[in-house]
Amino acid sequence: MKLIMAIVKPFKLDEVRESLTALGIQGLTVSEVKGFGRQKGQTEIYRGAEYAVNFLPKVKVEVAVPDDLAEQVVEAIQKAANTGRIGDGKVFVLDVSQAVRIRTGETGNDAL
């Protein structure tokens, strides 16, 4: 199994989720993160003083999938999250050696 971890722009989350659902993915986990990258935060002004916002709000999507789905999932995310503008984010793929569904104790691909 693979754990696909994607960092995407927050307003793309719904599209990502829909494209994964279309692939038959039944579950995923999302968290709010801050990203630092080529995309620079605007310079903001607070009471006349400028300051750079270094970290931009991003959303991290984590989804565990069977090995054979991994490629498709990565592609689907890449498409759904793409705006063509800097800061669109990344997808990383990690190996998962075991998965367990807490409710039933099922393991492996059955647990996903």
Binding site: K34, E44, Y46
Partner: protein, 442 residues
Amino acid sequence: MRKFFGFSVLTAVTASVTIALTKSASAAVDPETAFIFNTLSFLMHGFLVMWMAAGFCMLEAGLVRTKNTTMQCAKNITLYSVAGLLYWLVGYNLMYMDVSGFMGSFAIWSGADDVITADGFTGDGTGYAASSDWFFQMVFVAATASIVSGTVAERVKVFPFLIFTVLLTGIIYPIQGSWTWGGGWLSEMGFSDFAGSTIVHSVGGWAALAGAIIIGARTGKFGSDGSVHPMPGSNLPLATLGTFILWLGWFGFNGGSQLAMGSAADVRDIATIYVNTNMAAAAGVVAAVILNQIIYKKLDLTMALNGALGGLVSITAEPLAPGIGTAVLIGAIGGILVVVTVPLLDKLKIDDVVGAIPVHLVCGIWGTIAVVLSNDGASFTTQIIGIVAIGAFVVITSAIVWGVLKLTIGLRASEEEEFLGLDRSECGLEAYPEFGGGSGRV
């Protein structure tokens, strides 16, 4: 003074017998003492109405999403300021000075009290300091402008909105106000609106409605399939605080509209107004809570809050004449109207962020009609004429202003700005940088 007589006529008509008696009764209080009481009433009730500006601001700041909260606060404090300046520069005299029937005069207001001379107080009969009256009238116009800001929140750009405020508070509100309170044609016809269910609240509501339609809904609020996507308010205790502030301020709004406190009868009337105002609001809350529970099986706090305001707006056209039972009925119907019309607007794809149209427009109309329930001097037909005439005037003029703004400098933030929130694009600030998705902590 013209404006005072204008008011007196109205009040006399509205409050029928009891008020008329006031005049003779007040003979017992010496004129200077009465002058002090009357002025004090305007000042005390005026500061309560001024406080409503904070109430509107908190209510609206609590009902928008965090990304537009700063903007909502900025809009509200600025519109209150703009309203005061414009009402001084244009509005007051357009509403009250030498009203021709359809409007007063274009002139800067300057208060002078000729009853106080080098020989001391030389007035006879009732009176009050001109500035106290101006202050009280000014905070009313600010309330009208606050109503609009809630409806069009989360997508309108701030400067077009402020330009609209300039015209609303300087021109549109005063002109229609002159028709009744300035002694114009509606007043002569006998139209009765004690403290402004129509003249203040519906006017705000109509202007808001025109704005909501012309500006359009927030992106994503209505699905193409007819679905509605709620965007829950981000800080409900703040919205609750705003409602309590408005409720408190309403004692000033309605109580001060007695326009006098210098006799036993006047102060007795103010006391009656306080009680009726409170009971209509209470009934609005209870009716909204019960109805919401029946329909949706939940106690939707935002509906309870809107219910309170619905009750308050409903009693505003006639807070003096009804007995408590009638006041409760009027307020309860206000609360019910709110619960019913909020989802109705959604069906019509009109996006009213804080429910200002149900509260101020719908209940404002209802309250103005309800005058006939308790006020023998009021006629159903005249009330309808007033409602329709003022409605038509405000909708048309507002629509023109919104329309011209749309075609020239534009009304809406871009879709991306709207997504990121107006706080960022317009204010460069976050309301709560360290909470939830704020950028402040990490």
